[in-house]
């Protein structure tokens, strides 16, 4: 018996000696800063090398483009934060553009048409959340289904063509400027500030981060998971809905082919702006910076007459590089894995 004394039963082996990183100072260049630097660099280079980039018209153009992209991306950020995803936003934007346009051509007053369209957004978001939370369908699958179905719905509602004949006020909204800034940008700013406030200041925002970084911690802390899931998916659909209405206003038609592949741009903007597809990380400001980079690249490529196919290649490469660099940084910082 005496021989057992020292080490019986030894219990679990020590999995990972972690004491060497006891006092690691957490410092890290946020990936958003890197992306912002890249964007500014691009602005600088373009301003110097072309006479067309740094002009009021072109800058306003970029602002308009980034506004719609950002609104969709802000929305998508919410499901991503809770470790979900929403692939349906592009199709939802098209559907709501067509639906709103149809309601308007039927003679409904603008506020009523917009109100009804937003209700549609809430309904779609609720359906996504219900499918994920109650039916246990993976978010990727249910929103992929939505990507197909809502696009189909947009074609059905519009009979396969664009919806013409919007009231003048609707079409002029997207062209309006206040204080020299496009109305679309103001809209984006207001939505962005509200969502930023929710994320950084409220319990709901915290609970999303908690849920995304460790589901068990959130559950055990007694957080109302159902509420958070519904909130995240409704925000996403609602933002897509608003973006769809703005797009419709910008194009002056309700087009069932609008916003194709916007969901991917939106996800890319969020991820390049520091969001993690594994949940728990991401910000509204970072997402805006990501969207701004992509809008700048698209705009620059147009001005330089670069083939849009190259643009797509460049965007893809950029996403891969930025996420890789960010991961590298994190791995080095945590010192293992």
């Amino acid at each position: 018996m005496a021989t057992h004394e020292a080490n019986l039963p030894a219990g679990r082996t020590v999995k990972k000696p972690t004491s060497h990183r006891v006092a690691v100072k957490r410092w890290r260049l946020p990936v958003e800063t890197l992306v912002l630097g890249l964007t500014l660099l691009l602005w600088g280079v373009m301003s110097l090398s072309t006479s067309t980039f740094f002009t009021t018209n072109n800058l306003i153009n970029i602002l308009r483009q980034v506004s719609v992209d950002s609104i969709i991306a802000f929305g998508v950020l919410f499901p991503i934060l809770i470790r979900g995803i929403d692939l349906s936003v592009g199709s939802v934007a098209a559907l709501s553009g067509v639906v709103c346009a149809t309601l308007l051509t039927m003679g409904l007053p603008i506020p009523v048409a917009i109100g009804l369209t937003l209700l549609l957004g809430v309904a779609i978001g609720s359906l996504n959340a219900f499918s994920v939370y109650r039916l246990g369908i993976p978010a990727f699958i249910i929103t992929l289904a939505g990507l197909q179905a809502y696009r189909g719905g947009a074609f059905l509602v519009s009979d396969g063509t664009s919806v013409f004949g919007l009231p003048k006020e609707m079409a002029s909204f997207a062209r309006a400027e206040w204080l020299g800034i496009p109305s679309l940008f103001w809209t984006m700013l207001v939505i962005g500030l509200i969502l930023h406030f929710i994320l950084s200041q409220t319990r709901t925002g915290r609970y999303m981060v908690a849920m995304g970084s460790n589901y068990e911690s959130a559950r055990r802390a007694g957080i109302n998971i159902k509420r958070i899931v519904f909130f995240a998916y409704i925000v996403s659909s609602l933002a897509a809905c608003i973006a769809g209405i703005l797009l419709m206003s910008r194009m002056s038609i309700g087009s069932p082919t609008a916003a194709v592949a916007y969901e991917l741009n939106a996800i890319a903007a969020a991820v390049v702006g520091g969001a993690s597809l594994f949940g728990g990380r991401g910000s509204v400001l970072g997402t805006f910076i990501g969207a701004l980079l992509f809008a700048t690249i698209a705009n620059s490529a147009n001005l330089l007459g670069i083939d849009s196919f190259w643009q797509m290649v460049a965007t893809g490469v950029l996403i891969a590089v930025v996420v890789y660099v960010d991961n590298l940084h994190k791995r080095r910082q945590s010192g293992l894995k």
Binding site: G11, R12, P17, S19, R206, G212, S217
Partner: protein, 251 residues
Amino acid sequence: MNSLLEVRSLKKRFGAVEVLCGVDLTLEAGEVLAVIGDNGAGKSTLIKHISGVYQRDDGQILLDGQPVAFGSPKQARKAGIETVYQDLALADELSVGGNIFLGREPTRRWLGLLPVVDKRAIQQETQRLIDSIESHIPDGTSTVAGLSGGQRQAVAIARALYWEAKVVILDEPTAALAVMERENVIKLSRMLASKGVGVIYIGHNLIEILEVADRIAVMYRGRIVHVARSEDTSQEELIKYMTGYTDRKTA
């Protein structure tokens, strides 16, 4: 005077297997009670009944002399039974304070209207707490992701302490820790007890158990076969009970 926590002839069966066959256990305020036993002896099942994860088939649990029946971990937590799990259940992307207050954040009214999380209050309370337990957590605002296993353990224990838990269950708190950090956890466990908390300490390592516990309960095949004060027992004796050696001899 009632015991803080009393378990009476607790029984649980999973299908054909009787996992707990009548467990009796008492826990006093201010003591560390270690529960040890080989894998499958029923330790986890026992504590999951106390923490509200499982519902018993038969028997009684009394808290402060009152019979209780928890339908969920949330209810147990509300009654003052806090469990620090092996995986710790901390949200990596939240700060130390964010984790301690998770689900119970103090709020204030922004512009007298909207309820927002009172970050300053969290920060101040967290700093006070960190100082009081002399843990080596660098800063209450840093995210948990950068902390070591021992520091994370300290955060989880600090959370239990702050919310004035009556009973804290530590489920193999040192299982994933470096040797140096074990000492800290043992210190924290003793500190919890010194503040009047009843601590249930699940563990494997006998050297550690003898150091941390006031009393030790040994489980074997769904029963508590032996309870002893730490100073009255030895590793050898505990091993005999854990391996059922005494069982065979008396049988």
